[in-house]
Structures are given as C-alpha cells and as structure tokens.
Point group: C2
Chain length 310, copies 2
C-alpha cells in the first residue's frame, strides 16, 4: 500500500527546514540547509527539492508525494508568492509555489509561517475540533494566524492575520516595518530586550538575549522580572483587543518567549481579563501551544496540504 506524504518546507531568514509528513502528523524524515547558501529563490527551491527527492527515494517506492506545503515570511496563500519579505534577501514578489510545483510536479501551497503553525495546531495539536481560535508566535517578531469557523482567515488578498503590526501604542516604539508602536515592538523577544534595556538604562543594541533576561528574572533580578510583567501587560492588552474582532474560544501562544512559563503567562492572563470587554470575560483560554518547537514549522507547512488535499 502506498504511503501518502506531504512535503513540508519552512523558509526562515537563516535556515530552511524541510521534511515529509503523513496525514497523522508523523514526520518521516527531515533536514535543513542555510537559506542564504543560494543566491536567489529559484536556486534555493532547486536545492531543497533535490533534498526532498532524496528523502523520498530513501523511503522506497511506497512513498507517494501528494503535495508540498510551504511556510515563509509574507507568504501569500492566494498568489503563492512571497511579497516584500523584510527578512529575506529576495526583493519584490517571488512566485515560490510555482517554483516548487515545477521542481516536484505536485501541487504546492504557501502561507506565512504563523498561519501554517496555526493550521498545524488545528490538525495535529490542541486546537483539534476548535472552530475559532487565535495562534500567536512570540519569536524575534510576533506572528499570528486567525481561525474563524474552522477556516484560516486569509483576507481578500491572502495577507490577513498580522497582529504583530497592529499599532498598540500610538507614536510608540519604532518598528522594523517603518511605523511606530506596533505590538511586536513590545511583545516579542526583541520587545522584551528593549523593555529590559529601558528599565536598566542600557543600550537596546547590547547583545542581551531574551533567555538571559529570563535567567536573571528567575534569580530574582527586579528589572528582569519587571520586563516580563510589562511584556505580559502589553500582550494581554493586545490579545484583549484581538478578541473584539473574531471572539476566539482559545488563544495559543508559541515560540521562544513562552518558555518563560508563568513568568509570562501570569501577567498576560491578568492583563487580558482586565482589558476584556465584559461580554468576553472569563470564557477565553490562553494556553501554550501543544506543538513541539522543532516540529511546528514542518507540521504547519504540511497542514496546508492535509487541510485542502485529501
């Protein structure tokens, strides 16, 4: 009997990971290569597809590739293109799905990495059976995927779900997008580094990692603890505002910052309830994602295929 598999690809600014995932969310094989090794997108796709074909060959003749799901910054589901991704070297609009289809001979579907992870949570994680939820990734920036009535929200142009670039504090911190006060300038690894730098009076350019702030906070450092409290307060406000749009039953938090556990979740939940409109109070859960950090990207990308091609 043939084993149906989806190719899963996650393109990051530094590394591109790839693998083969079945309909039950089992990752059969995987690998990674540096995104910047290839001079352009076509070269990267060609290199990744050679690797994927090799993985398929090793699995034997029963491996049946039925599609390729791709997660990438600024990936547009409708067009299959990456549009003006600030963290990638490729300029303008890049027809990524087309390149994968040409190389692999199967349908390729693209979306941004946070949307893909939201689908992964829905198909293979704790959001199974949930119709309305919000998935938030707290990494270098803040990404999000919004699910309404069992479907990912893509919007009219395929670019919906950018909670990280909602303006939380008008005229607030400068953001990489060129505007000011975006949620991700407060609620992300970068955000907490800025907050800690502000509280300690040091330069935000200092190479302090969010993990260092966490360790300091664990050892009782007041400014480090306060950094987590403030981050949670801002995140709680941002999430409470989000609820007023799509009223999710659950909000999943994912990514490096969530490793801080209650140090982040406790102030977030408190601020969230305090900032919620009355009709939403005490009925919306904030939970850590159930996806394993190292698997989420592949499971998410593969979900694009398993959600649409059966």
């Amino acid at each position: 009997m043939n084993k149906k598999l989806s190719a899963a690809i996650d393109i990051g600014g530094t590394n591109t990971v790839y693998g083969l995932v079945d309909e039950q969310g089992h990752i059969h094989s995987r690998g990674s290569l540096p995104t910047t090794d290839s001079p352009d997108a076509e070269g990267l796709v060609k290199a990744v597809c050679l690797k994927i074909k090799d993985l398929l060959y090793r699995l034997g003749p029963e491996a049946d590739l039925i599609g390729a799901g791709i997660g990438a910054p600024n990936g547009n589901y409708f067009s299959g293109c990456i549009e003006f991704a600030p963290n990638l070297n490729w300029k303008g609009i890049v027809p990524l799905s087309k390149y994968f289809e040409e190389n692999l001979g199967v349908k390729a579907l693209l979306t941004n990495d946070a949307n893909a992870a939201a689908l992964g949570e829905m198909l293979f994680g704790a959001a199974k059976g949930l119709k309305d939820f919000l998935f938030v990734t707290l990494g270098t920036g803040l990404g999000s995927g919004i699910v309404v009535n069992g479907e990912l929200v893509y919007g009219h142009d395929g670019m919906a779900g950018e909670l990280g670039h909602v303006i939380l504090i008008p005229e607030g911190r400068p953001c990489g997008c060129g505007r000011k006060g975006c949620v991700e300038t407060y609620c992300s690894a970068t955000g907490i580094r800025t907050t800690y730098a502000e509280l300690t009076g040091t330069s935000p350019d200092t190479k302090i990692e969010a993990k260092y702030i966490y360790e300091k906070a664990r050892s009782g450092d007041k400014q480090a603890m306060e950094s987590f409290t403030l981050t949670g307060e801002w995140l709680g406000l941002a999430l409470a505002n989000s609820v007023a749009y799509t009223s999710p039953s659950t909000i999943f938090l994912f990514g490096g910052l969530t490793m801080a556990g209650e140090m982040l979740f406790a102030p977030t939940k408190k601020s969230f309830e305090n900032n919620l409109l009355r009709v939403y109070q005490k009925k919306i859960k904030i939970l850590p994602s159930s996806l394993i950090e190292g698997d989420a990207a592949l499971l998410g990308s593969a979900s694009l295929i398993w959600k649409t091609i059966k």
Copy 2:
C-alpha cells in the same frame, strides 16, 4: 402565487421598527413603536408581533411569512438571546428569538444591529459579491460587522465584531463599557462631541449635537473643522489596525457621522493609508454604505433570514 416575506425587527433603545421584506430587498410594509412602552421584553415582542400579523393580514392571503430576523444591541446569533445590553432596560440574558418564535410560529434569528446591517449591505447593497469586508456604523457609539470569506464572523460565542470596544488609546477617554480609550469614545457622534468640547474648553455634557459641529465646520469654524480632522485621524488608525486582522477589500462606513461626507472621509482615508502596514497600502477602499439610513435596519434584520433560509 405566494409571496415569501421575512419579518424584520430592529430593537433600539428608544424605538423598535418592524416591517416585511422580500428576497429582493423590497420593504412591503413597516411601522414602529416606542421600545419603552412595554414593561419587559416579552411584552414588547407580543406588541410587535401583533403589529406584524396585522401587516401580513393587510397584504392578503398570498403573503407567506417564512422567518423573522431581529437586530438588537448585544444580540447573540447562536443563543438567540440579548446579553447585558447597556442601552435597554432589560437586565441579564433575554431569550428574544424564542419569544418571537412563540408569537409568530416561524424561525427567528437574532444578531446585533451592526452585524445585521453588514448582512444587508452584502445581500442588498454595495457589498454584493464581496467576500471580505468590514461594515462600521458611526452612531451614538461605534458598531461593526466583519465578513470573512462571504460569511459574517460570529466568533465562538456569537459576540464577535466589537471594533468600537477595541482600546485605541491606552488609558484614554473613559468609555460607557467601564474601560478607557475604546475606539467609540473617539470615533462616534459622542466622540466628536467630546473632541469639540476639549478643543473649545466647554463641558462635554453641553447638549451639542454632532450635526451642529458639522454646520459650524461648514461655515469655517476652526475648532469644528479640527474636530472632524481629529475624528478622521483616529478612525483611520482604528481601521488600519482592523485590516491587520482580516484584510478586507472594502470598508463601509454608515450612520449619522458619515453625512459629513468628505469632511470626515478625507482625513479618515489619509490617516488610514498612513497607518497601514505596507502590504495593505493602496488596495483597500473606504466607502460610504449604499444603504439608506431609514431602510438599513429592516434590510439588515431581514438579511439574517434571506442569508440562511431560502
């Protein structure tokens, strides 16, 4: 041949309007009565249903009632109940759809007035054929209906789409909901009255109508003109933030304040584009609603039926 009709009811704090609407959006007959004439919700429903039966009787034996659509503040689509409506005298949770079903013997569907108007725009107005749009009512407060992929967003609890209660300015103006800085404290008839009072140094309790501020602005009064500019700037920011959630192709503005035309639309559009994330710039329209103010409530309520019962 029978003429299929939907009963349409819009319950406001002051008046309740009702009518009979066909599938083409033609209002066959209508009337209204003071909401506060009845001591409780059951009494109001009974009085309204007697009036509706009378309208049906006058239309003759061919009139075929197939359902009742109801728009009301804090109306919950899933439960058919009004939940803690601040502008109505009824306390707690009121099973409004059930009352209508008992009195009329047909299916009754309820949602909040802004959601209903969004459906009206989609079935009978300028949003025909649009899959993703936002509908915003600028009245005493600010209401909204969000359409994603051709369906109204109800959320997990039936209470989604409360743009008016997104916190635009943290620790900003006090809101009737008990929190601070909500969009509707800036972008509504009440909001512009507060803004004008702040600019002129008068008390916001003074009985100045938004229409008076409009007339003053038209005659060249600087503070009145500035009130519209500021309102537009806040509204543009609030709408730009909304786009980052569901990426609508079009935003429709409805209600009293929109009568100010370009005086409101020009600063709103300018601020909107300035505050949009780059990927959304120059592709989203802000338009006045095509629904006539006096018809919108009935067309919207009836749309609940025509969208689901065919």
